[in-house]
Symmetry: D2
């Protein structure tokens, strides 16, 4: 292969995106070099490019199915030509932080993200993955490329919301924010046994999808305070848990109000505003309401399990794909579609 | 009402069942008297009548929807004429045992069962329920009588297996025994997010239903050792958990073998044989395999939540009903059908 | 007995306390009437009288050992003359809320508190306790009166902080606020296996007691930001959990900063100010830091277990008693001592 | 250094132990070579040599403080000359099994043990440790050599029993078997907040130590069935949990009987006999009694936390040392002392 490659990424931080030229990464012993087979842009790519100051030259993208092009000397389970799903969280597992419990963070917060965070992402002609035996999964027969791309970020993140919400059989759960991640929180809540799932969003396309994924009602924040609408639906009965998959920190405060004593608020969104809980809600802190949240799990076994849900017919994730592109160069169009976010977009995908 | 009633129950313990005459129970302050609207016989009625020595004169039955005919002086939430689902487990809640955690047992093992256990069951013209405000639930609009009967025993028991099995998204779960309870463990496992569910049973009708409830494969214990068949399906990979919903204690030993390190074996069946785990499997005790199990949860809130699963379309439990009868006297036929258990029976129901 | 009694309580809400005359409460079937044998004032009595608007005429006090003077018709386990420990939380247990899990709250937040909250407290010549078989515990032989008074509020509350903090063997835990409740959080953290316990307080007497109860270091908020002092002690390593047993909501924000990824913040204090978490700390919401907290557990079995800790020599709670009074009228002095809170006060007690 | 070393190990499997000559192990990139500074023999060394068929030539020993003599090219945190505690469980962490949860087992049961299991142990002049940055801990200042040796096996194992037993404040716990591991289960149960701890052993020296470590009573299996003795002590009240730290599988059956509904039986002993639970106890399987157990956790962070318990004065583990030897050759005497197990032996140590 040539020594250089191009990729779609940051030209001027928080200002301009475009195509960059980079050296093809050198593969270290536990790593693999992959070429993208299918990729999706993510709202966090957009945020990274517009407000979170990702550095100039960095190639974006962390949702992909890839083809293995080269493997390091210590790689045992994968070989050149393998088609693999790549998750958004691909930790270096030989890290003392793993002994504290959560591989998403390791020795530092969010330390398990590499693609587009600590090194170049999947919107390049090539990209490398650390600890490849521990982080990628063969795409099983019968699982589509799009499912392979979506499980590693949309599904694992949305489902993590349902995991953190500690759902019991028959619970009533509110999901605030029903972009693709929130839709997967709806699906995840249904797959944890929630009975009633109230999805909060505005766009007809996502409200329709929410119903297909297991929501029993949808409401729009444009129709009044979420709290009021939820209480009207439940007859003023607080809900068992709230999953926050979008919006601002104001949603967390609203979630405190609508959650029952000893209920759970699970946050999987990245908010950028001050969080204020009024003294009038301060009883929240002595009534066993629990607030938790965090970055999705990654790694190979997680991915294999989520792929099993698709493979065994328990989850149809492909309904999230609203727009398809063909050709590497179309990454740019797909990114801008995600950035512009017209009302009919859920998730664009680019096939190479 | 007349002072006496008839009911179907025990004539000679472990020998003969038939119709008995009893006084209509007197209603204490926290109790209600109900008449049955729909009832199902249960294999534990059959076992109670045949091998577990239920006493002469006891009326059987603990699965019902009933009509409230009288309420005690302390009852607040229900009134004469209400149509309510009645669960198999109806504890007296004012019991110090509740402070240890599990209302199924209270101050003594299985102490939360009253109907057909500590007093007469639902196969009488009338039956009474203790602590009625805490134990029954209004049948919601749109929920069928049969669903109302089934949630209180088949669903809560089968689902409890899935709860105890500590299922995670994407797990592979084996369900041994797919009578109506086991079928609900299959459904429950699917509703906790299991990907692959291997159901072990023999009869075509239940194997077919298992597939409809979320099983991905079914195997028969008549086709060889369960362990061997499961390992063949998984490529010798131990499974995440096993739910035991029938069979003998030999199934528990087999479950130990097929469960992964740190996996869980959840038992919801009542076995009557010695349990033997061979020394050759003794490593089971140092590899964090966990064996647990127990009687299903009951009570009103549990019932309301399970009814919500039906009401909001997450569970279609009526498929369990294989035979329907009409008329109180037909309880006898339904019981004998359950006892004879021909190959096409899943669950008979009697509507009054 | 005479028909009336006197008690120390509220003359003018948020303004004046003093002696009131009330009718002796009538005992309902599940209740008991007690006379106080020993009582302690609590800071929440002081707050109730000064800022939380407890109503005129209400008798204060919820920490007591009492003598049973009369029992209702349904009481089985206690009789006149029994000397019992009475916890601050004495729920009515026949409540559907119990089926949601936490008896502290039942059908409404904090609904498990009766004494001095929903009816008159223990600073009267008589007081009544609901559901007495479920709520009080015989004072075991060899356990002092003061221990009996302290377990039902100081110990159960402080220890609840340690329970909620999810402490593992060898953890480093910070306890913010070391009044008597915080001191019991220190003791509780030690009894859950924490290795290093950093106690935050100012007064020499409580700092000394903190060390005796298992703290390994104490710091004062007067010596600089708590965060800075903790980080200096740990060499900038975040701590495993923080228990907040006093102070303001600002302490919660500070706790977020010093807690490790996936660590826990457990709040057992009642704050009355807005809680603000700056956007700069917003990563807190995606790093699996968990905030929880709530009112202490009550009830008889809880109390019996905590009394067992004293009885079997695992906890010496009497060291909390800094001042002793003799005679019912001295409740007033003890209350004012607690309210004035001179630097040598930890916990005053009044023996009758 | 010379190319060969001697070590104490297996001459004839299950028959003869003695001194063997081996090549000094070659250090791979993530490994370190250590020389022992202090070591203890373990009953599992004795069992390995006598009944479990450890292979000829294998050097025994897995409890040590060592001096680092050489480090592999990838080692970052340790250097030649460091004095470190070495735990019995030292996994290779770059293993997909870690993603299932328990590092003790990794991809195969007990796979986290290397020393004396998968390669030569610490009774050699040199021994190597895999993944050294992840597995050993600097001996903190002020912590004795003996404490450093004991935390890595006796403490982590005994404490793991207390962890698995799911102890709550004020619980009553039975510990069956009070060799050094069981004594640490006693200490661990006390440090999890158990109130009453009934220790089952026979020898005066260990019964005395049990009391010092927090037992409230000791009983001997020579004085009658353990069940009967425990029930006599508790007034026939079942206990909250049982930790099995020795004996045979018969103890597990006995533990089922004495454990309360929904209680836990935690096994940390390696039994070599069939386990039989009689049908008469079969209710055990429907009363939510939970049986679990497993090999102790290892790794660096675990070790650091346990060392913190010693360092901060929460645990005095040195009381376990009953006999001390000086000089490498004395490993043989120490091993035979452990094997003969006269009544005054708790734990022998050998200082180099």
């Amino acid at each position: 292969m040539s020594k250089t490659m191009k990729g779609f990424g940051i030209i001027v931080p928080n200002k301009e995106t475009g195509w960059v030229n980079k050296e093809i990464p050198k593969v270290e012993p536990f790593e693999a070099l992959l070429s993208p087979v299918a990729v999706c842009p993510c709202t966090s790519d957009v945020d990274g490019a517009r407000i979170r100051g990702v550095a100039a030259g960095r190639i974006l993208g962390h949702e992909a199915v890839g083809r293995i092009e080269a493997v390091g000397s210590m790689v045992k389970d994968f070989k050149v030509g393998d088609i693999v799903a790549v998750p958004a969280v691909t930790p270096k597992w030989y890290d003392i932080g793993i002994q504290e419990g959560l591989h998403q963070h390791l020795s530092r917060p969010l330390g398990g993200r590499f693609l587009s965070s600590q090194w170049d992402g999947v919107f390049g002609e090539y990209f490398k993955v650390p600890d490849v035996d521990m982080n990628v999964a063969l795409l099983p027969e019968g699982v589509t490329l799009s499912s392979g791309v979506l499980v590693g970020d949309m599904v694992t993140t949305g489902f993590h919301g349902a995991e953190l919400a500690d759902i019991k059989f028959g619970d009533t759960v509110v999901v605030i924010g029903i972009g693709p991640v929130g839709l997967m929180s709806v699906a995840g809540a249904a797959l944890r046994g929630a009975a009633r799932i109230i999805a909060v969003g505005n766009r007809p396309v996502t409200r329709q999808l929410a119903m297909e994924y297991g929501a029993t009602e949808t409401i729009s924040y444009k129709d009044g305070p979420i709290y009021d609408q939820v209480m009207e639906l439940t007859g003023n009965r607080p809900v068992d848990s709230v999953i926050i998959a979008g919006g601002t920190t104001a949603n967390i405060a609203e979630a405190y109000r609508m959650t029952k004593t000893a209920g759970t608020i699970a946050n999987i969104a990245g908010q950028d505003s001050d969080f204020i809980l009024k003294a009038s809600e301060s009883q929240s802190f002595v009534t066993h309401k629990t607030l938790t949240g965090g970055l999705c799990p990654g790694g190979r076994r997680r991915l294999e399990r989520l792929l099993d849900l698709v493979r065994y017919g328990k989850l149809d994730v492909d309904k999230l794909i609203s727009h398809s592109f063909n050709g590497f160069e179309k990454i740019e169009d797909a990114f801008h579609l995600m950035a512009d976010n017209p009302s009919d977009v859920v998730k664009p995908i680019v096939y190479m």
